[in-house]
Every structure is written in structure tokens, then in C-alpha cells.
């Protein structure tokens, strides 16, 4: 039940975009095509999960053991930066065609903000390993959902007559605001799972 609670909270109640405000830049900038949004979602999910796992390991295994919590920020960011690149190298080395296919379909993005954010949140919330992973994935699902809705809304807005001054980022923010309002309707749902 706890686990389901974590999922519901991360996806709906405290959606990473609409209530936690993480990963906003790519959310506003990149999500213009639905197909791309789907591919990006998968990539983000994997990267968030993997880096949460590794930073969790570092936090519990090293930092807390040696009383070095104050190095959290610096180690996490270094590890994450290295990890993301390493995955790319490995894929490229192992199967260049696979790597190429990814390159053709996915835009290059770096969502450091959300990755580091989730890694730190997991530690702050005092989650255990399973909870951390579940939280990371659910957050990513929440993010993917936001990206997906948003890319489709943008495709539609591109075909309608939004006033000049509102075009682009302003209307995107406004839409996100209204969606955030709608998502507030879910508040309290997590209590069922306690």
C-alpha cells in the first residue's frame, strides 16, 4: 500500500512538473512533437532510475558512512554527469546502429535538473531502496505524462489562433498553470494508502 501511495503521489498528487517544478526547461522547450515526447520519456525514465540507484548507493555506502553528507551535491552532480555519458559510450561501442537509431529519433537533451532533483529528494525523504526506485520511476512516469499531454496540446495550439504576444512560452506556461490547477484535484488521494 505504501508503495502504491508513493506512485500515486509522484504521478498525480505531487506531479514533478505541475507541483514540484522540476525539469521545466525541457518541458517548455522540447515537447513539440508527440513521437519525440514518447522517446524522450523512455530515455528520461531510464536515466532517472539509474542515477537514483547509483546516487543512493553513494549516499548510503560512502557519504553517510564517513560523515561526508556535505559533499552530496558535488558528488551527485559529478556522478550523474559521468553516468549519463557513460551509458551513451557503452551503447555506441556495443552497437553503433542502435546508437545511430537513437540519435536519429531523439533530440539531444540534458535534463540534469530533474535527475539531480530526484536523487536529492529520495535522500531527503528517507526512502529505502525499493521506495527510492519506485519513486524515481513514478516521477519519471509523471514527467512523461506531462510531456505527452503537453506535446499534443502544443501540436493543437500550433494550428489555432493564439494571440501574438501569448504565443510560445507564455501560452505554454498558462496551459501548465491550468493543468496544475486540475492536478490539485487529486490532493488528498494518497491518504487512502496510509
Amino acid at each position: 500500500m505504501e508503495i502504491i501511495g508513493i506512485i500515486i503521489v509522484a504521478v498525480f498528487v505531487n506531479n514533478i512538473v505541475f507541483s514540484q517544478f522540476l525539469g521545466i526547461c525541457p518541458f517548455l522547450g522540447v515537447s513539440k512533437k508527440i513521437d519525440t515526447a514518447i522517446g524522450m520519456s523512455a530515455a528520461v525514465t531510464f536515466v532517472i532510475t539509474l542515477s537514483t540507484l547509483v546516487t543512493y548507493l553513494i549516499q548510503k555506502g560512502i557519504l553517510e558512512n564517513f560523515g561526508l553528507e556535505y559533499l552530496q551535491t558535488i558528488t551527485f552532480i559529478l556522478v550523474i554527469a559521468a553516468l549519463v555519458q557513460m551509458v551513451e559510450i557503452i551503447i555506441k561501442k556495443i552497437s553503433p546502429p542502435l546508437y545511430q537509431a537513437l540519435g536519429v529519433y531523439l533530440p539531444l537533451i540534458t535534463t540534469n535538473c530533474i535527475i539531480l532533483g530526484v536523487a536529492i529528494l529520495v535522500i531527503q525523504k528517507d526512502f529505502n531502496l525499493v521506495e527510492s526506485i519506485v519513486y524515481a520511476i513514478s516521477t519519471a512516469i509523471g514527467y512523461s505524462m506531462a510531456l505527452l499531454i503537453f506535446s499534443s496540446i502544443r501540436e493543437q495550439l500550433a494550428l489555432s489562433k493564439v494571440p501574438k504576444a501569448m504565443q510560445g512560452v507564455p501560452i505554454a506556461l498558462l496551459t501548465a498553470g491550468i493543468l496544475a490547477m486540475a492536478f490539485m484535484g487529486f490532493s488528498g488521494i494518497d491518504q487512502v494508502f496510509k
Partner: protein
């Protein structure tokens, strides 16, 4: 000075030097700030206790002990003494049924089971709504909503909407309900341990509690006391409001 070339040696040295300097620097800053940080934390709790119980001269934090809350978790009790005399108890309690999840409070009772004061340690309620809980129930000018001075052995607290005796925060019945739940829990748990010794299993509150009786089991419970880490920054949700 010309730019260093990207040879492996240069790179390694340069990066290592930077890391070295940074590590030393951070360790020094940490050393300087570690104490204030710990103090800030400790102070927060101590201030809260001081706020909710009559003046004392012991160290309640050191004498704290835990008792089960009946729901698988435990509440911490901080006894306040003046000299050897017991003047009140501060109890940290919580409820998971608040609007934004968990709300953690500390409530102080005096010898006569009256609420001296309370303080909200952490919450994630809506600013302007549920967040009013921090002050709402302290307003002595409004007896309907004020809980200070109420004798819990006489009445259990509940919101008037549920037929109870406390006026809820406007449009925040949920928060109010959760808050009162936490207060009741604090009182019940504390009385329970006392009564638990007297009449086994009895949950009814006995009116004449003798403080001395508690001192017995105070020791063994206090022995495994660690201050729970519920004052940890909640991060995400909290600032997200």
C-alpha cells in the same frame, strides 16, 4: 600565462588540484558551520518545548523517552521539571490525515492535564488555509477555537462539524481534524502509559494521575531514546507550495 595543453598529465593534475582545493575548502567550511547547524536544529526543538510547557530547569531533551502510540509508531515525551518537581510534559505527536499528508506537532500539558500550548513542528498544509493551524487554535480571544487551557481528561477534542467542541479553521476541516487527532493522540498515549501500569489494558483516563508513578518506567523507556528525525527538511512538497 598560456593555456595548459590537454595532455593526460596536465588534465589529471589540474583536475586533481581543483578537487583537492575544493575538498579542503568544503571541509573547512563544514567544520565552521557544523556546530551552528546542529545548534540551530537543537534549538528548534528546545524552543518548541520551552514554548509549550511551564518554565522548567531540567534538560527535557536529555530526559526524553518514547512510548508507543498504539498505531505501531511511537511518540516522544519530554518531561519538564522545576527542581525535582514535575511541572508538565511536552509530547511530540503527528497525524497522517492532514490535507498535505503528515502534520507534526508538539503539545504541552501541565500537571492538571490542561493544554499549556502547542507548536507545529512541520506540516505541508496549504498556505493561507490549512497553514493557519500554526496560530488558529491558540487564539484565546476566541474560546470556540482555542484549545489552550482545555482539560483533556474531561473532553476529547473534535471539530464542531463532527459534533465536537472546537471550531475548525475556516474551510480547512481536514487540517483541523488531523491536528486535533494529533493532540488527542498525544494525550492518550501519554495517559495510556501511565494508566498502563495501573490498570492493565485499560484505556480509560483516570483523573488522578500521580506523577511519581511515571518515574518508574521513565527510565527504561528513556534508555532507547533517540530524538526522532522528524524535523528533517521535507524538501519537495514543502517549498512546492
Amino acid at each position: 600565462m598560456a593555456k595548459l595543453k590537454s595532455t593526460f598529465k596536465n588534465m589529471f593534475l589540474s583536475l586533481f588540484t581543483i578537487c583537492f582545493v575544493v575538498a579542503v575548502l568544503l571541509a573547512q567550511v563544514n567544520k565552521i558551520t557544523a556546530k551552528p547547524i546542529a545548534e540551530a536544529k537543537a534549538k528548534k526543538l528546545e524552543n518548541a518545548i520551552r514554548e509549550v510547557v511551564p518554565p522548567f530547569d531540567n534538560n527535557p531533551v536529555a530526559e526524553a523517552y518514547k512510548i508507543p502510540d498504539g498505531a505501531g509508531d511511537s511518540l516522544t515525551i519530554y518531561p519538564a521539571k522545576k527542581g525535582d518537581e514535575w511541572v508538565g510534559f511536552a509530547v511530540t505527536s503527528y497525524s497522517n490525515n492532514a490535507f498535505g499528508g503528515t502534520i507534526q506537532i508538539i503539545v504541552g500539558f501541565d500537571k492538571d492535564n490542561r493544554i499549556v500550548n502547542y507548536s507545529v513542528l512541520s506540516h505541508a498544509e496549504t498556505p493561507g488555509l490549512g497553514a493557519k493551524v500554526v496560530q488558529w487554535f491558540k487564539d484565546t480571544s476566541k474560546p470556540g477555537q482555542c484549545i489552550i487551557g482545555r482539560d483533556l481528561s474531561k473532553e476529547k477534542l473534535s471539530v464542531s462539524k463532527d459534533g465536537g467542541n472546537v471550531d475548525a479553521i475556516t474551510a480547512s476541516t481536514i487540517t483541523s481534524r488531523a491536528f486535533l487527532e494529533a493532540v488527542n493522540k498525544a494525550y492518550a498515549a501519554y495517559v495510556n502509559t501511565i494508566a498502563g501500569n495501573a490498570a492493565s489494558g485499560a484505556t480509560e483516563l483516570s483523573k488522578d494521575i500521580v506523577p511519581e508513578e511515571t518515574t518508574k518506567n521513565e527510565k527504561d523507556i528513556a534508555s532507547d531514546t533517540t530524538i526522532n528525525k522528524n524535523d528533517k527538511t521535507t524538501g519537495g512538497e514543502e517549498h512546492a507550495q
